[in-house]
Amino acid sequence: MLITLPTESQKTSHLRMTLNGEQVDVSFAPYKTLLEVLREDLGHTGTKHGCELGECGACAVLLDGKPVLSCLVLAVECDGRSVLTVEGLGLDGQLHPLQDAFADLGAAQCGYCTPAILVTAKALLEVHPHATRDQIRVALSGVLCRCTGYLQIFEAVEAAMIKIAEQNATAK
């Protein structure tokens, strides 16, 4: 027997959240995941998908500062919360030090997992500004990269840590 699901155009759910520091209101079909609402209803295609089953990690975003797989989060759960995607990493038109380091050190090859790895690394550095190689390995282990072999990613995170520490020292 066929069960007819609500269609995408039945945007009967609404939410207000902070997306990359900006308040947004969006209407969407109630079954949609945060990933789908970001990409399809809010036009934020920087966040990618590789399985939509919580296996590959490519859809990671920060929800209230913590990395989550946006394909496993229902959008209706996100009302009043704060979401950071790769589009929100830079500040004042400048790349985030992680983005600079990834660009310079070969940490992005095809670039498909890069948005997820960047935001996950940002969350790590918020908690561990002097993370060890092992802490970086563990933090990024939920995001698969098929191109790099991870090593240049680790090095880029480490280079960004130094840059951020320098920036913080100058700011003080």
């Binding site: 066929l2 007819t4 699901l5 269609t7 995408e8 155009s9 990409r39 399809e40 295609t45 920087g46 966040t47 990618k48 998908h49 590789g50 399985c51 939509e52 089953l53 296996e55 590959c56 490519a58 995607t85 790769v86 589009e87 830079g90 790349l95 992680l98 983005q99 600079d100 990834f102 660009a103 310079d104 050190l105 070969g106 992005a108 090859q109 095809c110 670039g111 498909y112 997992c113 890069t114 948005p115 960047l118 970086i136 390995r137 563990v138 990024l140 282990s141 939920g142 995001v143 698969l144 990269c145 098929r146 191109c147 790099t148 072999g149 991870y150 090593l151 240049q152 990613i153 680790f154």
Partner: protein, 838 residues
């Protein structure tokens, strides 16, 4: 203008572009597309959203092998929100990547050949609606017997999976002999016979295949797709849609990983193109991860047998290789893959006599095709593990043995592959030194071990997929009055850095910055043809084309500037965004002014360049697979720790040296090496495209064991060992600025080096891939029981081989032709001396 490609032995093309040190090439740089990638702005195919866009889903066969008795789409078509339902009768024309294997139909009309084979498509306003409507298509199947592996295919000629091929379910059978191999075994002091099995694996790009097609306002067709080969897709679309190619535009979006898995024209691409034309609205498809596993085109499972004769000093007298290949349900690149399983054995070590027999069978599984290292990975595993066994028997260090037998540069091998620079010895010496080999090999405590292996790989396939005499790559440059340079080229960015290769070469020659360049690539309308991102061909072919176009542009600018500055144009240098007199550097004009001067003198400034690989001396039938302008070389040492109680294997460190000719952008080259190491390690330890039969009380169908990323194990950031990468750089005159390939070769030595290291650690031979704890435990049990401490296939299955084409090697008076081939009257054979010396 003379074609510099006819002069493979001349000076390194443009290696002295400015008559002085290089400013761009070889300098670590941010790649040109890096900013887009780290800001999430790279537009992948599924990131394209267009007004009025409809969505497509495919109905896929749940049966591995069946006749389609009837398809009724009426209920699906009546479902609200459904615009269109297509079946095989809408797309009857067959296609396939190789001209000899036109065996695919975009939607099967009467015969499905593997679980996942598509037979109908629904296009609807919304993706979910399309998905729902798939359930409303009524199909009557007549179940056919399933052919699950090559042994079964050989034993079961009926039912045939395809009505072409050699016979029964044998797709392709080849036999080639270069010299009398039996005689070489008589001359040998020792003969080694070993059988190996290499399991299939898949590419697992993180980006799922996606495509969007539109009917252009003028009625033409445009398709954006995550394809590595837009030109070949263009040809397939023209054929199947029966449209003039001039009315089709294929734009390859940057691929979110390819690794060979996006190199075939795919059914879903053809379906959305047809639907967009019929509906006159954009149509998108994005495959689910499960569907990506059904697209496959990955590593062929191969059983292989090596018989190798050696002298006491390690010299190889001859080799006989047999391969039995599980092709899956379609031809794909399979004929080429079959030849590739025997093509490159002769490129690393001197093998004076060589016999190769290969057989590819059809089976009811997703089709296999080209995965990184295409067809050469499996026999390389067997060859390098057998060499480890040979070294042990001869009581030689396996690194020393290899150093003794490395093939010489600039030679023609027994099977007529013309080698370029060969720095394999240097690669071996580097890894032996950096890993402290002499202190480790056979000296580490029980449970720890090191293994060494080597390899070679093509720098671009010498022949196109279809026979033609045109260039393999073309580049157009447009120079504008503001000093900007636009590069137009069909080369396709799949993450490997092809855009950066083009920009780096043009920037070097014209003395500008790579960020002064705009790139229009992977688009069949915007740029000249490049055959695609496969066979490690882009750097050498598109790179040489870009070099030629840039040198022609520089010539025009130099002529105009020479007049303005009143200096001989030979004295002009292009650097730092200026053109200046090398003898008096204050005499200079900015680059943009140089463009204006040239435009005033010659009119609009645009140049072209192209590249055609040199002719191969391999003139025998089958000799089209294997030739390349030059080959890369790699040596690797892997260290393992094996727990003899659990069989668990960990890899603490890998040392690898790669002969790349010249690293155009060193961090990108390192990334290709380490990415290959990573992917090789996945194949060595865990990756398996494995199938199982459902229980008899269910359908007993042969299904993919785990079409999901969770169950298909691949290495994570926790599994990746430390890697010490060394690049060996002796510029090869055939490559742009001396560059050779790096994207595939470094994968090849990893699997055999792991196997050899496991033997060093616990004394058991695992003669198959992946090397899992279970297999180690079984081999350890054999060892404890006093039997052969080994896990692997016992026998090579019986295959009725055809009589071999006999091609005497160059040192036995051969001219590259077979002496017993049927005469090919229509094609006059080039004379020996002409080809061998060219």
């Amino acid at each position: 203008m003379p074609n510099h490609n006819d002069l493979p032995d001349g000076p390194a093309n443009g290696s002295q572009a400015n008559g002085e040190e290089l400013r761009v090439i070889g300098v670590p740089r941010r790649r040109v597309d890096a900013r887009a990638k780290v800001t999430g702005q790279t537009r992948f195919a599924d990131d394209i959203f267009l007004p009025r866009m409809a969505h497509c889903k495919l109905l896929r066969s749940p049966h591995p092998h069946a006749r389609i008795r009837n398809i009724d789409t009426s209920r699906a078509l009546a479902h609200p929100g459904v615009y269109l339902v297509l079946t095989g009768k809408d797309l009857p024309i067959e296609y396939g990547i190789l001209p000899v294997s036109q065996d695919e139909q975009a939607l099967c009309s009467d015969h499905v050949r593997h679980v996942g084979d598509p037979l109908a498509a629904v296009v609807a306003r919304e993706e979910l609606t399309a998905f729902e409507a798939l359930d409303l298509i009524d199909v009557e199947y007549e179940i056919l017997a399933t052919i699950s592996d090559p042994q079964e295919a050989l034993a079961t000629p009926d039912p045939r999976i395809h009505d072409y091929g050699e016979e029964g379910n044998i797709h392709k059978r080849v036999a080639l002999e270069f010299g009398d191999v039996e005689k070489s075994f008589v001359e040998a002091d020792e003969i080694f016979e070993d059988t190996f099995f290499y399991q299939g694996s898949t590419h697992l790009p993180i980006e799922q295949h996606a495509a969007v097609a539109i009917k252009d306002p003028d009625g033409k067709l445009t398709i954006w797709s995550s394809t590595q080969t837009p030109h070949y897709l263009h040809r397939a679309l023209a054929k199947v849609l029966n449209m003039p190619p001039a009315h089709i535009r294929v734009s390859a979006t940057p691929n979110g990983g390819g690794f060979g898995g996006k190199s075939d024209p795919f059914n879903h691409e053809i379906v959305v193109a047809k639907a967009a034309l019929l509906l006159d609205r954009p149509v998108k498809i994005c495959l689910t991860r499960e569907e990506v596993f059904y697209c496959h085109r990955g590593r062929h499972p191969v059983v292989m047998r090596f018989k190798t004769g050696v002298k006491k000093d390690g010299t190889i007298t001859g080799m006989h290789l047999q391969t039995l290949i599980d092709g899956g349900a379609y031809g794909s690149y399979g004929v080429a893959s079959t030849f590739y399983t025997g093509a490159l054995q002769t490129t690393t070590y001197h093998i004076p006599r060589y016999r190769f027999e290969g057989c590819r069978t059809f089976t009811n599984k997703p089709p296999c095709g080209p995965k990184r290292g295409h067809g050469t990975v499996q026999p390389r595993f067997g060859q390098e593990v057998q060499l480890d066994k040979i070294a042990e028997k001869l009581k030689m260090d396996p690194a020393d043995l290899r150093l003794r037998i490395v093939e010489a540069p600039n030679t023609v091998t027994a099977n007529y592959l013309r080698l370029g620079t060969v720095n394999l010895s240097e690669c071996i010496r580097r890894v032996v030194k950096s890993c402290d080999w002499k202190e480790k090999f056979r000296k580490l405590p029980e449970g720890r071990g090191v293994g060494i292996a080597c390899s070679a790989y093509l720098t671009g396939a010498g022949l196109a997929i279809y026979w033609n005499k045109m260039p393999h790559s073309g580049v157009q440059l447009k120079l504008d009055r503001g000093g900007g340079v636009a590069i137009f080229c069909g080369a396709t960015e799949i993450g490997q850095g092809s855009d950066d290769v083009l920009a780096g070469i043009v920037a070097e020659v014209l003395g500008i910055d790579t960020f002064d360049i705009r790139l229009f690539t992977g688009d069949t309308d915007l740029g000249p043809v490049d055959l695609g991102s496969y066979s490690s061909r882009v750097t050498i072919m598109a790179g040489n084309a870009a070099l030629q176009a840039a040198e022609r542009a520089r010539e025009l600018l130099a002529e105009a500037v020479a007049i303005r500055l009143e200096v001989p144009k030979e004295r002009l240098r292009f650097a730092d965004k200026h053109v200046f007199d090398s003898a008096a550097t204050e005499k200079r004009v900015p680059f943009h002014e140089a463009v204006c001067l040239a435009e005033a003198r010659f009119g609009t400034i645009g140049t072209v360049g192209s590249y055609t690989p040199p002719k191969s001396p391999a003139l025998y039938k089958g000799g089209g697979v294997g030739p390349s302008p030059t080959y890369s070389y790699t040596a690797a040492v892997v260290e393992v720790a094996v727990n003899s109680v659990t069989g668990w294997i960990t890899v603490p460190k890998i040392w690898i040296a790669h002969d790349v000719g010249r690293a155009l952008n060193p961090p990108l080259v390192r990334g290709q090496v380490e990415g290959s190491v990573y992917m090789g390690l996945g194949e060595a330890l865990m990756e398996e495209q494995e199938f199982r039969r459902l229980p008899k009380k269910l359908s007993h169908a042969l299904v993919h064991k785990f079409p999901s990323i969770l169950e298909y194990k691949s290495p994570t950031s926790l599994d990746m060992p430390e890697v010490a990468t060394e690049l060996v750089e002796e510029p090869d005159p055939r490559g742009p600025f001396g560059a050779k390939e790096v994207g595939q070769g470094p994968l090849l030595p990893i699997m055999p080096a792991v196997a050899n290291a496991v033997y060093d650690a616990v004394g058991v031979r695992i003669d198959e891939v992946p090397i899992t704890p279970e297999k180690i435990m079984k081999a350890l049990a054999e060892k404890r029981a006093g039997r052969t401490p080994r896990f692997g296939p016992i026998d090579f299955p019986h295959v009725d081989w055809p009589a071999a084409l006999r091609v005497p090697p160059p040192w036995e008076g051969g001219d590259g032709n077979a002496i017993n081939d049927v005469p090919r009257h229509s094609k006059p054979r080039p004379e020996k001396d002409k080809v061998l010396s060219s």
